[in-house]
């Protein structure tokens, strides 16, 4: 498995890698470059990584997810280099016999990836300026605005 790519993420290829007629539920997450709401319009993000560790750590995260949800199949990819606004930089797909495990394994893998993958991002703004950007804090489950 190759966990790092410098090309656009191929969603269909990831789905094919987990496809299995015994697995009825498939959950996928795509994290995409946002146009930015704080420091003005972001044109792209330049992702850099400690590539050897990214490969090793992503493999470890996926192994841990499969150990926690046996029977699940999990794959992931992080794109590095310049990723234009609107395009995905992170993809995780989890397939499981039923949907609850698929969602849980996908979400868990995404959270671990966000916390553990050695990746850094530099935002590239429309005016040509650049800025390193830290991640937000880990997210907890979203509460709906009405009960």
């Amino acid at each position: 498995m190759q966990y790092v790519t410098r090309r656009p993420i191929d969603v269909q290829a990831l789905l094919s890698q987990v496809a299995d007629p015994a697995l009825g539920g498939t959950a996928m997450f795509l994290g995409s470059v946002r146009s930015g709401d704080e420091d003005g319009p972001v044109e792209a993000i330049d992702y850099s990584a400690y590539e050897e560790m990214l490969e090793a750590e992503f493999a470890k995260i996926v192994e841990e997810s499969v150990a926690r949800w046996p029977g699940a199949r999990v794959v992931g990819t992080h794109r590095i280099g310049i990723v234009p606004t609107g395009e995905p930089s992170l993809a995780v797909v989890a397939a499981a016999p039923h949907r609850a495990e698929a969602f849980a394994a996908c979400r868990h893998t995404v959270e671990e990836a966000k916390q553990r993958l050695p990746v850094w991002k530099k935002e590239i703004f429309a005016d040509g300026t650049e800025a390193w950007r830290d991640n937000d804090q880990p997210e907890t489950d979203a509460k709906p605005t009405s009960a």
Binding site: S48, L90, V110, R116, D134
Partner: protein
């Protein structure tokens, strides 16, 4: 670029140091080697870098680190030939 202390090789460990993103900019380098008195920890290596490299004081006391591509800590031991990575706060995804 090598930082050596006046110690015989039998009582020192030599490690590769890699710096990423902001930290590579601070140090002006992406990789170097470092010779430390044995036994050595990650904390010892960071202290030496902070004291003996230009702008080294701009690194945090306890940066995020990895040893041989695994997350590590200030008290993690360093052995001959290890690769120590100095990593700014992670921002993947």
């Amino acid at each position: 670029m090598h930082f050596r202390e006046a110690l015989s090789s039998s009582t020192t460990v030599t490690v590769t140091v890699r710096a990423f993103a902001r930290y590579a900019e601070i140090l002006g380098i992406e990789a170097t080697t470092l010779q430390l008195p044995s036994p050595a920890t990650v904390g010892d290596a960071v202290k030496l870098l902070r004291e003996s490299t230009p702008n080294g004081h701009l690194l945090p006391d306890r940066p995020l680190v990895a040893v041989n591509s695994e997350h590590a800590f200030a008290d993690s031991p360093l052995r001959e030939g290890d690769e120590l990575a100095l990593m700014p706060p992670l921002a993947g995804g």
